[in-house]
Amino acid sequence: MIFELLAGNLTHGLLLGGVYGVATMGLSLIFGVINVVNVGHGQFIMVGAFVTLILFTALGLSPVIAIPVALIIGMALGFLFFYTVMRKLIKAPELASLLATFAVGILLEELAKLIFGADFRGYYWDVGKIILPFTTIPMSKLYAFIGSIAIALFLYFWFSKTRSGTAVRSVIEDSEGARVCGVNVDWIYALSFAIGIGITVMSGVLLTMFIPVGINPYMGGAYTLKAFVIAVLGGLTSPYGAFFAGLIFGLVENGAYTLFALIPGVAPFSLTVSLAFWMLFFLLLVKPTGLLGKK
């Protein structure tokens, strides 16, 4: 009985973890390349959720089509934000950019409220379910997971096989060195920032495929926190680290419930979330730079 529950929860956790992973990769990329902590991260996820919702409800397009649309919208937002605000702040003290991302986060929330209102919305994309002996999985969740794997692989190939990807990696390692070697560092900054935001907005689509309800302007905050923790768990500057850390986070968040439920007199769900956050702390004790972080 317990094992059945555990197996079911872990399956769902794995699927959710993949989405968490993609939702964090953008944060890691931006931090790795231009050393900006994007505290408006969750608000960009919210943008992705609204993109999906509008495409689905107004135009009847499936969320699968929303994925590339969200990437394009996200990258456009990223470039816009970079050239209007962030570029001026790269040389400023580290935290100045944090303030800018904070303000942009608020701006996105308020704009979304102005345009869409404060209602909690959702959509219903019926693509069937798979019935396993221990649980039931809606196909939309599975698609979200496959999508997240595809995006992670895509990013991996871009990083390791393309010219611009290699240039990005060299900037993460040593931006001055890269500049000396003839890399157009400013362009790389802009590009990685835009891709980072693009992936984040895109992850908003995947997230709504997973949880297609509760879409509203203020939904982002909860994801910012999770993304922060997952990013550090994965080693902060490493987008793949973030992906694996996301998987682990999802597994713990779902899996531990079954065990905590055995303790009488507590609220197991809260304890599970508590553990998911404290896990980071324990890991950093053992490995101060996260899973895949370098010294």
């Binding site: 400023a92 003290p93 701006l107 308020e110 979330v273 702390f281």
Partner: protein
């Protein structure tokens, strides 16, 4: 002797601003809660700045201390109000509990997290904060998610009139005192051995270690000071003043971000910065909420962006550059 006093000159503008705020709040009708709100932002900025400004470490989990301070006060009043002979003593007990909880957390975090560098430290603290919140809810300690509501207990043991005065005046007044204290400690640290040691840490931690500076000791001291001041603000401005506490309302990272915003608007690592930042942040938010309720954040966000692009070092940070080698130099730090 004279030199000793001169080094505290920069406190003059800070304390003057607090005094003016206090007088405005005290004598103008309807202004008290607003200056109290401003003082709240200033005090938090100033306290947060002690650690961050001097070490360069960004503590994202700072709200943990504010929250624990709130809990200290709430627990003190909830559990000790039954002893009537304690009278006002329960507030002292609450404050002591607030300090104790915050000190405990600060020392634990320092022992473990201060070994981490930069962003790892910053975000490890977020993990602790969230973990703690859900632990209180999950393990159902301290009232769990139902929180503690103690306004009634307070009224019963101290009487209605006294409680009115306490919650709507003295709680806010003590925030002013804490803000002033934070400014003083900040100044004191800057101009003492601790300050020099921490400057060394900020510039190059490894080199400082090699030179024989006990970096951990000084970092822990600054961390502890900063945390205790935050806890005191929490105990007063959230605990005593509001008469209740819910874990989901106090362990909220958004408040840490507000601290950071206040400090950065004014200028990180400066003494006057958090005060100016707190005033800009608090006043513009309050005022916009009044003239255009519902749309204030829409206007507020671009204002922040403009300020930070125009003054990347914060308002006081830029001003500091301007007044270099003028008579004003010794007042603005």
């Amino acid at each position: 002797m004279k030199k000793n006093i001169v080094k505290y000159y920069p406190l003059i503008p800070v304390l003057a601003v607090y005094l003016i705020m206090f007088l405005i709040g005290f004598f103008m009708p309807g202004m008290w809660q607003m200056v109290a709100l401003l003082a709240f932002y200033c005090a938090l900025g100033q306290s947060w700045n002690i650690f961050m400004g001097m070490t360069g470490y960004v503590d994202f989990g700072y709200v943990t201390f504010i929250a624990l301070g709130t809990y200290g006060m709430s627990l003190g009043i909830t559990y000790f109000s039954q002893f009537e002979w304690l009278g006002m003593g329960i507030i002292v007990i609450g404050l002591i509990l607030a300090m104790f909880l915050a000190a405990l957390a600060a020392l634990l975090e320092a022992a473990i997290a201060l070994r981490l560098r930069g962003a790892y430290f910053a975000i490890a603290c977020i993990g602790i904060n969230e973990g703690l919140r859900y632990f209180i809810e999950g393990a159902k300690i301290w009232g769990g998610s139902e929180g503690l509501i103690f306004f009634g207990a307070l009224t019963q043991s101290l009487g209605r009139e006294t409680v009115n005065q306490l919650t709507t005046f003295w709680a806010d007044f003590s925030v002013f005192v804490i803000a002033a204290l934070a400014a003083f400690l900040n100044m004191h640290y800057m101009r003492s051995k601790i300050g020099y040691a921490l400057t060394a840490v900020r510039e190059d931690e490894d080199a400082a270690k090699v030179m024989g500076v006990n970096t951990t000791k000084y970092k822990t001291l600054a961390f502890l000071t900063s945390g205790l001041l935050g806890a005191a603000v929490g105990a007063m401005a959230w605990g005593l003043k509001l008469g209740h506490v819910y874990p989901g309302d106090v362990f909220v990272i958004h408040y840490t971000i507000e601290c950071i915003v206040v400090v950065l608007l004014g200028g990180a690592g400066t003494l006057l910065g958090p005060v100016v930042g707190g005033l800009i942040y608090g006043l513009s938010k309050y005022w916009l909420a009044i003239i255009m309720p519902g749309f204030q954040l829409l206007i507020f966000a671009p204002i922040i962006i403009i300020i930070i692009v125009a003054f990347p070092e914060g308002v006081i940070g830029v001003l500091k550059q301007r007044v270099k080698r003028t008579a004003l130099e010794k007042y603005i730090v």
